[in-house]
Amino acid sequence: MSAMKNYKINKTYQEINERIRSGEVVVVTAEEIIDIVRDEGPVEAARRVDVVTTGTFAPMCSSGAFVNFGHSVPTIKTSKVWLNNVSAYAGVAAVDCYIGATEPCEDDPLNKVYPGEFNYGGGHVIQDLVAGKKVHLKAIAYGTDCYPNRMIEKEILLRKLPQATLCNPRNGYQNYNCAINLSKKTIYTYMGTLKPKAANANYCSSGQLSPLFNDPYYKTIGLGTRIFLGGSTGYVTWHGTQHNPLAKRTKKGVPVGPAGTLWVMGDLKKMSPKWLMGVSIQGYGCSLAVGLGIPIPVLNEEIVQYTAVSDEELFTQIIDYGHDYPNGISKSYGQVSYADLKSGHIKFRGEEIPAVPLSSMVRAREIAEMLKNWISKGKFLIGEPQFTLPA
């Protein structure tokens, strides 16, 4: 942290939380702060505003939940577990498992009928659980003296489970590729359907509302940062897998390609099916769309300046998923701004091509607004990180 720097405005986490408790706190969204900083300057904005809220809602593959489903009689140490016929990892303990978002259901035809539909998978199991639906659990075991049972089957309900914890090892990617397809046939990717000869460009970020775009050097985000997760409260618990703070950045500090990531956790029992939605990505697989939002405490004028970043100042790279990506070739076919992407068209090789979003701006705004509301009403305090993410 830049504690040594001489700022005109200095606020501590404790002071901001005191203002939240007293109801005096001023909270705005990462879209609203843009004009405030432009009109009033960073010092005045930092004096007036205490918290800036962000939001994003998109498929985030590296998601899943630890489920403890309680002991049976006779006892069992499960070695294989299925939830609604979706395999969950059971090599954890006797009655614990991890249901991963991208695991397809056992009898899914996958891509045998190309492109596969992937109608049900781990992400859908998680959504069904939080929707309060009954989920069928089947587990097998080899049997031990202390755990003699070889097989159990039962219906589980989230509210009756001893414990269920959402634990997503990689969420909230700080920037992501803009995908095109330079091959001659349509391809079906995790970046959506890409028509041949660069007939569309798909992107997946909420841009100026995206959490890590608003704190590009992770000055306020780390272990213990309290966040909006799946409709409830969650926490950043670590840097996510593939976290890469060394990615190339603009002069303002924002990365121009995939960079930082978040490891997040929260109590699944408190979450909602509106903010954890199982998704089916044609030809690719199953996943989970996660609603995630981070409140950024305005500790000083430098922080507020970061949060004022706008789509015009955020860029990503055009990557070919027809040939380059599957062959591990890292090549950019140009840099585009999120302002251009969100306009619906980008210029590529002299031609206008449609730009298609995969991340919901409508939902991202809703998250930033909900978080703003929670903080303004004193229901949500800012979590001070024990240490911030590697920068």
């Binding site: 809602f57 998109a58 498929p59 492109p115 539909e117 109608n119 959506g192 359907t193 890409l194 028509k195 569309n200 798909n202 939605m277 199982g278 998704v279 089916s280 990505i281 044609q282 996943s287 769309a289 969100k342 306009s343 619906g344 449609p354 298609v356 979003p357 995969l358 991340s359 919901s360 701006m361 409508v362 939902r363």
Partner: protein
């Protein structure tokens, strides 16, 4: 020219009679049989596309009904299940007619059914399965 895909159900008593050929002979209609079967209880089911002028089409359908044939409209439409739609925009990559488009700057996905050609490409392209194929109103005739 007027054209619709119809499902015809022939009662067991009528299934052996030549009926559809009179649509051509007496009503100047053309048809293309898409599917036909006689079911175990001898009722017949036929899916055909019937084409002609609007008046002849109407008279032809009336003729079928007079013969005891049950006539249903087989045409389909695409509906959006609003609760499932997250307004992500993925469907706009595949929609060929612009029926699905993004309203800016709100970034709301709009669905204009009038522009929809029922190609069904959006059905598997929608990550949350918010787009559905449904039969249009069966009380059409």
């Amino acid at each position: 020219m007027y054209s619709k895909i119809l499902i015809l159900r022939f009662p067991a008593t009528e299934v052996e009679k030549p009926i559809v050929c009179y649509l051509v002979k007496d009503y100047d209609l053309t048809f293309n049989i898409l599917n036909a079967a006689v079911l175990p209880r001898k009722e017949g089911v036929m899916v055909l596309e019937l084409t002609g002028t609007r008046k002849n089409f109407k008279d032809g359908v009336q003729y079928l009904k007079n013969q005891g044939v049950q006539v249903e409209n087989a045409s389909q439409e695409i509906k959006r299940i609003k609760k499932k739609c997250t307004h992500c925009g993925a469907c706009t990559a595949v929609c060929p007619t612009g029926a699905l488009c993004i309203q800016r700057p709100e970034m709301i996905v709009e669905f204009d059914q009038k522009k929809c050609s029922v190609c069904e490409l959006c059905v598997p392209a929608c990550p949350t399965r918010a787009m559905e194929t449904r039969p249009t109103n069966k009380a059409f005739f």
